[in-house]
Symmetry: C2
Subunit: 275 residues, 2 copies
């Protein structure tokens, strides 16, 4: 299996977290993505459908095929799509490294928070490129855990945060992938590659974002790797507890501030004569 | 003396670096600042005038008073302003903590890359507030060295970068001040405080920015603290040399990427009856 173990797990709480994240940063990450009427779009690695809903609503006249390697996630994504009354999405269980589609099948490809979990991101992009039509676009959104800083900043909060990066590395993922999108897309032979950082900044003048992003998305993500961090002896329990407590202070008025940056990249598949 | 020793020194090369920085990120940092005709603006901590030129050109019909504690810097700033043919700036040597102006003398106040060098940033802001008219704005721009990350990222490059943060801390400055602008302005009793991050992202599709910002601004800033870093034994010479070499790779095609974020904050002085 080429996909590393999904670092954040498959719990109910994790599904909630993913939906909260999608809503808190929806406009920032997805506001400029909408596909034309009739276009065939592949969403690779749809997970529990948190981004699928946004994608489908932003491009109501496109046909979206959403794949994931986990059948359980697909079931959750289907439930969500049905609950939302969305009709332009078809789901299919599939492995990015063994895509069950003919070449040049799709007009556009979209993937969000997928590359960070893959051991061979360039190979994944090359596989996706095969099923993309010449002239079509690939859009990829990833975070970068090295882009995170906050105030107040304590040693323990930093340590807890670094545990997240280390646990993901231990599972053969790469949570520092955002800053690498440019070289990754270039290595996978995409053209006209454009990367745009999407920074989330919160302070107490933005209580809704502080709540939806920091409290409901970021801190639960860190809390979710407690067991692995302690088992791997990356941190002791006392420091962990203080670290989590301190992270909560970065989301509290009047002084807390928090910064995290996502990266969105777009590349085009050119015909061979242009390569 | 309440201002910590200026970490970057007063060399010719440093002046060049400051002018290069101002140009590389001019639009990003200053594009939305322009003061109305006839308004009286105080620029606090003008240094060698790198920002003064931009300020004066963006607000040609405002009257700008630029102060700095260093007479030598003011002389350089004067030369620059004269060379540029700018007529709406008056210079004066002055200490932020002992301002030679009557209360409510200015319509607006501007400061850029100043708070990072001060031991008591809130007290500085309170002093500036006194000479600001009720209803007037204070605009502050600062970097945050903790916002910096890059690709490829080696241990030595990170170490060299952290030396910069530590040297500044050793000189009683705070290079992580950007993320703190919100609490600082609130503590100094400014109202309607709005902070906006200004992120610089470079990859090889932006060769001009890579050159002007990473090669001519950022790396020379790190190189400038070599002596202090080695004297303070923060790093050994071999690691330092490799760190600098590795930092240069972050500004090289095809793979290098570099991220740094500035913060711009604006606050309003309200009358006491509104406080």
């Amino acid at each position: 299996m080429l996909m590393s173990h999904y670092v954040h797990g498959y719990s109910e709480r994790e599904s909630e977290r993913l939906y909260d994240q999608a809503n808190a940063v929806r406009e920032l990450l997805h506001g400029d993505t909408d596909y034309p009427t009739g276009s065939e779009v592949l969403e690779a690695g749809c997970g529990v459908g948190a981004q699928t809903v946004i994608l489908a609503k932003s491009s109501p006249d496109a046909q979206i095929t959403s794949i994931d390697i986990s059948l359980d996630s697909i079931d959750k994504a289907k439930d969500l799509i049905n609950k939302e009354g969305i009709l332009n999405v078809h789901f299919r269980q599939a492995d990015i490294f063994a895509l069950p589609f003919e070449e040049e099948r799709f007009d556009h490809i979209f993937l969000c928070f997928v590359l960070e979990h893959l051991q061979e991101p360039v190979r994944a992009l090359m596989e996706l490129r095969k099923v993309l039509k010449t002239g079509g676009s690939l859009t990829v959104i990833e975070g970068d855990h090295g882009s995170c800083y906050f105030y107040p900043q304590t040693d323990e909060a930093l340590q807890a945060w670094h545990c997240l990066i280390q646990v993901q590395a231990h599972l053969n993922g790469n949570s520092l992938v955002g800053r690498q999108l440019f070289p990754l897309l270039k290595k996978a032979r995409f053209h006209n590659v454009k990367i745009s950082p999407r920074m989330v900044y919160t302070d107490s003048s933005k209580p809704k974002l502080m709540d939806g992003f920091v409290k409901k998305t970021i801190i639960p993500m860190v809390e979710g790797i407690e067991k692995q961090a302690l088992e791997l002896k990356l941190i002791n329990k006392t420091s962990w507890n203080k670290g989590i407590q301190d992270l909560h202070k970065t989301a509290m008025p009047p002084d807390g501030t928090f910064c995290y940056t996502f990266f969105k990249g777009i590349g085009i598949k050119q015909s061979l004569k242009h390569v």
